[in-house]
Amino acid sequence: MNNQEAKFRLSAYRPSGDDASDPAMNEALEQARRDPALGAWLERERGFDAAVAAKLSGVTPPPGLRAAILSGSRVSARRQWWRSPAWMALAACLAVVAGGGLFALRLRSGGVPDGLVALALQDMVHGHHEGLTAALEPFQKPLASPSAALDRGMPFDSSKLGAADCRSLSFHGHKVFELCFLRGGLVFHLYVMPLEGSRASGPVYSTADGLSTAAWTDASHAYVLATKLGISALEKVIQGS
């Protein structure tokens, strides 16, 4: 190994010295010990690297980021079981049944359009959810409040979801907006479908193969609240606690 190759390797040698046990680095380090010119180069290089690493570590995350992360995903980390291959296969079967209309019939609820609950359940399993984002914070934050009782009205203006670039699904040519939010550290998904001339109905609770939903309508929207935490968790969100 010549000095050029040693320098090439040592460029990837972390200033912390954590790579000292790496055989490729060991060889290059040994050469630097034997060759004064290479040793001097390494010393300069490590000095510069250490200074940059130290400066970079001085970049501090904004206050509140840690708390936001911890409140944002703590519980779902414990409940990753439903993403297992067996469950995904089961959910795929569920979606097929829903496509045949039987599932929609089973979950039919008041003024909520047939199939909307099935759409929500399918999206729960297969959808790529955006999680918590700054753009949706005006909607997600009020939903996270324990005192917000959704059966007394949404704690935000549903008509602004489109303008906020909220993720949406297509349902018989209509938009259905989807919002993830946390309440008490638990993950919920709310599906909001604008529905002109609707009448207030529900909520109707259902559980199918580990996923629970509450579906209801008000004068202008149909809603499906979905979770994998059971109906009692839904009731607390719907009624406030």
């Binding site: 990837a12 790579d19 510069f48 940059v52 970049v59 509140g64 700054a134």
Partner: protein, 182 residues
């Protein structure tokens, strides 16, 4: 994974992930989103990872992939990749200069480096991943990482010298510009 284990995981990595995200997104708000989203993905998928020792590498890889997925097509890519070779040789900002500058100036200098070089360089300086882990995270050969690091350090020196020469001392982003978290 228990709550305590999850909290430890967050405490151990969120700051480094944020710094990495900031170097990619170049603004605090998007960096916060990327960091949060990474842990959200961990919560829904990553915690199934059987080898806990690979969690760190998984988080950095996921953040980088999430960045690639979400970045806008019209994002401005300022670059000094075309800096002449000899220009790098002429400037030698040493540790003293680096120690004197504001961290924001360093981030500014880093942001001027083309992404292909900037990403491994920041991962290297965060010291969280070995060069082998960086190669794995980026999906490139080990030799490519070494090559890019070697070149990227020259580019960083050039960028720092250029900023120093131009008298630019403006921070990368003001504190006021940082996202306020709930």
């Amino acid at each position: 994974m228990t709550d305590d284990e999850y909290t430890l995981l967050v405490d151990e990595h969120y700051a480094s992930l944020y710094r990495f995200a900031l170097s990619l997104a170049r603004n605090a708000s998007d960096a916060c989103d990327l960091t949060q989203q990474t842990f959200y993905i961990w919560a829904t998928r990553g915690s199934a990872l059987r080898d806990g020792a690979k969690a760190k590498s998984w988080l950095f890889t996921t953040l980088y992939r999430e960045y690639l997925r979400t970045r806008r097509r019209d994002e401005r890519h300022s670059s000094i990749e075309e800096t002449p070779e000899d220009a790098e040789a002429l400037v030698e900002p040493g540790p003293d200069l680096v120690a004197r500058i504001d961290a924001g100036v360093l981030m500014d200098a880093l942001s001027r480096i083309e992404e292909a070089f900037r990403v491994p360089l920041v991962l290297f300086y965060l010291e969280a991943l070995s060069y082998r882990e960086i190669a794995e995270a980026l999906g490139v050969p080990v030799g490519t990482v070494m090559s890019r690091l070697s070149r990227a350090k020259g580019l960083l020196r050039a960028a720092l010298a250029a900023l120093k020469g131009a008298g630019e001392v403006l921070p990368f982003e003001s504190e006021e510009g940082r996202k306020s978290m709930p």
